[in-house]
């Protein structure tokens, strides 16, 4: 099967200089319970380097002002910083133009923007929306709401036993009634990378619009929205070294031009009379109200940081670390690892369960060894149900994680087996 990851895997660049990277993240030198924290919860949110924090500080210290209207230097500089960040993001994902890059609060808001604006204008009774069984609630609930409101159908691409999307019945699931197909590029529970090309091809055969939830892919692998062939692509700044409160929706210009605005009010208009208004140019038409300016500037700095490292190297680092972790963890008795076992077909996210120990109890034990991981349903209740679990424990890696941290996780899991009487 042809998919976009093939292209990425052909490249085998040299590795990241992790020691140098860690210098940029002073938080990684913080101690908990007498040890440095092994931060393995990057799927939830990453850490931010000095460069990002400083870019935001500099805005607050030196040129804090609202954007777009001021004619004094501070405001002009803030406008340049904020607009410039759109351009950086556009290059980062290979958008045609920064006009296609809308800043939102996060992935959730980006997906809601599509559901409310595109969805309400285009979905009619009897139409079908296709999603998958592995989605984050953010890429499920907005479509449930839309489908209910419009009396439209909602169908799901299933999953194979090893956690890949099962495309066997794709041609019937995506059919002439399908108006929109939405799926995550990388699963935040299983790390599985979706077969984008095959799904996009089928969606385009029936003329459906394609939405990709890139919350887990944009931070961790090279993304080229033109090559992906989708129509919308959503992601969050806080998972890719940027601040919270800033996210991105990329959309094809002709679609965005035709869509009604989402949030209306200041900044997003061109002309206003008491009776009616006309809309501002893209992307401002979709950025009503004063935006998160410092956060936008911070996201720009995060994109600079990642671009300088090289996203192919970021991906390579995570393949190596994940392969190492899977190998080390495979030897632990009673440990169930969910999802594909080949690191090249998945991101740096490993979900597991240790015997019948509740993930919360396990996470508390790991926390005592200063290992920060996530326990719960990861906002994917339907998927967790399919895994026949009530919750999982999840370790997720990023550019600053090391094999030594993986070793600490593995050692702590052996220790937990003792504490919970599994041996």
């Amino acid at each position: 099967m042809i998919d976009t990851r093939d292209k990425i895997l052909e490249i085998a660049p040299e590795s990241l200089d992790v020691a140098a990277i860690r210098q940029d993240f002073p938080i990684l030198d913080e101690f908990e319970n007498g040890q440095k924290v092994a931060y393995l919860d990057n799927g939830a949110s990453s850490q931010r380097p000095e460069q990002v924090i400083n870019a935001m500080l500099e805005y607050y210290h030196k040129y804090n002002a609202n954007i777009h209207r001021g004619v004094y230097r501070w405001s002009e500089e803030a406008t340049r910083g904020y607009e410039g960040a759109h351009r950086k993001v556009a290059r980062f994902i290979n958008a045609y133009t920064p006009r296609e890059v809308i800043f939102t609060r996060n992935t959730t808001e980006s997906l809601n923007l599509v559901a409310y604006s595109w969805g309400r204008a285009n979905i009619r009774e009897g139409d079908e929306i296709v999603s998958t069984v592995i989605e984050h609630h953010s890429n499920l609930v907005p479509w449930q709401v839309l489908a209910t409101e419009k009396n439209a159908g909602l169908r799901f691409i299933p999953m194979t036993k090893d956690g890949q999307l099962d495309l066997t019945d794709l041609d019937t699931i995506v059919n002439e009634k399908t108006k929109l197909v939405t799926f995550s590029h990388m699963s935040n529970v299983l790390g599985t990378i979706s077969p984008v090309a095959a799904i996009v091809k089928r969606a385009k055969e029936v003329g459906a619009v394609v939405v990709i939830d890139g919350a887990q892919s944009a931070p961790h692998m090279p993304v080229d929205v033109q090559a992906l062939g989708c129509d919308f692509y959503a992601f969050s700044g806080h998972k890719m070294l940027g601040p919270t409160g800033i996210g991105v929706l990329w959309g094809r210009r002709e679609l965005l031009e035709a869509m009604p605005p989402f949030i209306t009010g200041g900044d997003m208009i061109r002309d206003v009379t008491l009776a009616r208004s006309t809309w501002n140019d893209l992307p401002w038409k979709f950025e009503g109200g004063t935006p998160s300016i410092a956060e936008g500037i911070g996201l720009g700095a995060a994109v600079d940081y990642l671009t300088k490292l090289g996203m192919d190297k970021v991906r390579q680092h995570e393949i190596e670390l994940t392969a190492y972790a899977l190998e080390q963890m495979a030897g632990i008795p009673d440990l169930t690892i969910y999802g594909p076992t080949d690191a090249r077909t998945r991101g740096g996210i490993i979900s597991f369960n240790l015997g019948d120990v509740h993930p919360h109890d396990l996470a508390t034990m790991l926390d005592r060894d200063a290992i920060a991981i996530r326990a719960g349903h990861h906002c994917c209740q339907p998927l967790i149900e399919l895994l026949e679990a009530t919750a999982t424990t999840r370790a997720s890696f990023y550019i600053y994680n090391t094999p030594e941290e993986v070793d600490r996780l593995v050692a702590a899991l052996y220790k937990a087996r003792k504490i919970f009487h599994l041996d």
Binding site: H358, H360, D361, T364, H377, T390, A391
Partner: protein, 148 residues
């Protein structure tokens, strides 16, 4: 750190014992003609408890049963709670706080998420009483994380 392991072992040991006692004695115990049936869940992890309570005319809790799923801390604190309220007036439930349950578990919890685990059973019981017209203080407030 060898010292740590011993501490973790001992602390967790008691919680695991209580959780096991809960599984044996209370989980799945069916209350006949319950006056109150109430379900609550921890939205952060999907853990769920359903409580059934039988009260007599004097407002004394005669029988308590739980069903559902939870981590060791939530099950252990449910066990402590049952021991505290069985045979006592519903008014006494008001005097029980999450912190008191945690004290009895003998562990230290500083994670806001785990505090919710420790409070799930209490919250379920208090909300169940409240929804059925018994006057008890609102348990939800206790779930609000504190700074300082």
């Amino acid at each position: 750190m060898p010292g740590e392991t011993v501490r973790d072992d001992l602390e967790m040991e008691y919680v695991l014992e209580l959780a096991a006692a809960f599984d044996k004695q209370a989980r799945g115990h069916v209350v006949h003609n319950p006056d109150i049936t109430f379900e609550d869940s921890n939205p952060l992890c999907g853990d769920k408890f359903k409580v059934q309570l039988k009260l007599n005319e004097d407002g004394e809790i005669e029988d308590v049963g739980f069903t559902g799923r939870g981590c060791a801390i939530s099950r252990a604190s449910a066990m402590v709670l049952i021991d505290e309220i069985q045979g006592r007036s519903y008014e006494d439930v008001d005097d029980i706080s999450r912190d008191k349950l945690i004290d009895e578990l003998g562990i230290e919890i500083n994670s806001a998420v785990r505090l919710k685990c420790a409070g799930l059973a209490l919250r379920t019981v208090k909300s169940g009483l409240q929804k059925n017209g018994y006057k008890v203080a609102n348990a939800e407030e206790e779930d609000w994380a504190e700074t300082d």
